[in-house]
Amino acid sequence: MIALYLRSVQAALRAKMQYRTDFLTGLVLYGVLSATDFLMVAAILARFSRIGGWDVYEVGLLYGMASIAMGLYRTFGAELHAFERYLVYGEFDALLLRPWPTLLTLLGRSVEPERLGAVLQGAVILAVAGHRLVETGALSPLGLAYVAAGSLLGTLVPLSLSLITAAAGFWVVRIGDLQTFTMYAPVTASHYPLTVYPRWLRTLLTSALPVGFINFVPVQYLLGKGGGAWALWVSPLVVVGFALLAYGFWRLGERHYQSTGT
């Protein structure tokens, strides 16, 4: 099944490479443009030196992780992100005609490799911040390795949020507006330490929209700013558990689609 997915992605990439200049401009643009988000954070920190007790390198660690996770999701989850179209134009039918799980067929149909520019940008910021924190002894090299692995696994969080949003579309069809709430807002929020937010928002970001487990929860412990060692194994568990939950909801929505029609 994985082999087939890879084959699909390969074909999708070939299709993309028909427009090579588009890809190259896109790669550079996404890389440079996504960096502005961090520039804004850096601008605030240049003036006030700390946000909620976190300096620019520590925030950079959070930002880098979230950026890699989101960038990878936007690269490989492109079709899921644009799922509204499948519902509005009835294109979902075609997915049901293939002898594979619909989600696998869907994800394999297109990728947006130019979004890797944003991943690269996040990786650079993560590397710079990580290097500095290891140098000053705030973070152990092993901790940095955990952070790198956590960024990759973290991709599951935006993917799951998107999957839940898309599955909600089986009932409400229009999901474009919902995405702002379920994806853009929480992912942006995860660029900063969650402790700066009011309690209700912090709760939201570690439960229903669990972006806190991509970066903040483990990093807080790794930098000695609170939490316990449990954070290191609970975070990946929550991320994987949330993904399973999201997939279950997707299956439920799929059955609902079949019983109501478009």
Binding site: L4, A11, A15, D93, L97, R98, S259, T260, G261
Partner: protein, 347 residues
């Protein structure tokens, strides 16, 4: 041979949400299930035998697409059941679709930005077609559909006819025993249509593929189908062969008789006079009330007959007549869909 596709008391009721005014109304609409019911398919039963070529006819919104979608497992029936090779496409979706080919004339299965070959290769991998079988199929498709000429051209650059040929190849690649075709000839020119029909005829005869085809082109039906099912207002109003359909509708057949010499007054009988020019007389009669032989024998009393031409009623007119007949389910409104002209890859 046993039935390979079965519909058993199949019904599909769509619930259309009631529009409410205002923000509150819209919010209520999200939670309440209140609405109007529309019966798109109303208690349809049929069985298609292995190797049959069935035409499925009906006006727009009659329930054709809804039926096909239920047969293919895209939709769950509200009542009743579907069996394809004895399995339910709803409960065993992946097993059933592996043995199914589906072509929607309005949309392509192919990868928009890639050559046809890439799509076929990917589908071969998806359906587990062995490399040897794959090469054999490709050769055969080239003979029947001449797809070799454009195998390496990106799909977006193909003509409509070429794209349909590519779609047919894609649907038959894994040699499915059952294929559903939804308007495969729509929008094609005469040459392309003929090629598509030849292919369908060939695979139906040689491979024994069971085919269910919807179309608005009566030539498709006349050339291809051994059996016709007609749906109107969600109900099956006819199921049988073409001749029977003509008879059932009672559409008039036409008879043109040339006498040795001009006959004076128009002959009268159980027919209506269509034309009279010199020695030639054309009459229309209803085959369900009088036979052709009877008409000829009655006409021969007017004078010596030199020649006789029979004209069966145009199938198009037969169908029109059938659609006009108000069936018992005529109070049900059909489902009409906005035309979809987005042609995207459906890989």
């Amino acid at each position: 041979m046993g039935a390979i596709v079965e519909a058993i008391h199949l019904s599909k009721v769509f619930r259309v949400a009631k529009d409410r005014p205002g923000v509150l109304g819209a919010l209520r609409g999200l939670v309440s299930r209140e609405g109007r019911d529309i019966t798109a398919v109303d208690d349809i039963s049929f069985a298609i035998d292995t190797g049959e070529f069935v035409g499925y006819l009906g006006p727009n919104g009659a329930g054709k697409s809804t039926t096909i979608k239920m047969l293919a497992g895209i939709l769950h029936p509200t009542r009743g059941e579907v069996r394809v090779e004895g399995k339910s496409p709803q409960r065993q979706r992946r097993e059933v679709v592996r043995r199914l080919g589906v072509v929607f004339g309005q949309r392509t299965q192919a990868w928009w930005d890639l050559p046809v070959r890439d799509t076929l290769e990917l589908l071969a991998a998806m359906y587990g077609v062995k490399p040897k079988e794959y090469r054999a199929s490709l050769k055969r498709f080239d003979e029947l559909l001449e797809i070799g000429a454009f195998l390496d051209v990106p799909v977006r650059k193909l003509s409509l006819g070429q794209r349909m040929r590519a779609d047919l190849a894609a649907a038959w690649l894994h040699r499915p025993p059952v294929v559903f075709l939804d308007e495969p000839t729509v929008g094609l020119d005469a040459v392309a249509k003929r090629r598509v029909r030849e292919f369908l005829k060939e695979v139906n005869r040689q491979e024994g593929t069971t085919i269910l085809l919807t179309t608005h082109d009566m030539d498709d039906i006349e050339v291809l189908c051994s059996r016709v099912m007609v749906i109107n207002h969600g109900r099956l109003v006819y199921d049988g062969d073409l001749t029977g359909l003509r008879r059932a509708v009672g559409a008039p057949s036409e008879l043109r008789v040339e006498f040795a010499a001009p006959v004076g007054e128009p002959p009268s009988g159980p027919w209506t006079l269509v034309a009279q020019e010199g020695a030639a007389v054309t009459v229309a009669f209803d085959r369900s009330t009088v036979t052709a032989a009877e008409v000829i024998s009655r006409l021969s009393r007017c004078g010596d007959i030199r020649d006789v031409y029979m004209a069966e009623p145009d199938i198009e007119r037969v169908i029109e007549a059938l659609y006009r007949q108000e069936g018992p389910g005529s109070h049900h409104a059909g489902q009409s869909r906005p035309p979809v002209d987005r042609r995207r890859a459906l890989g």
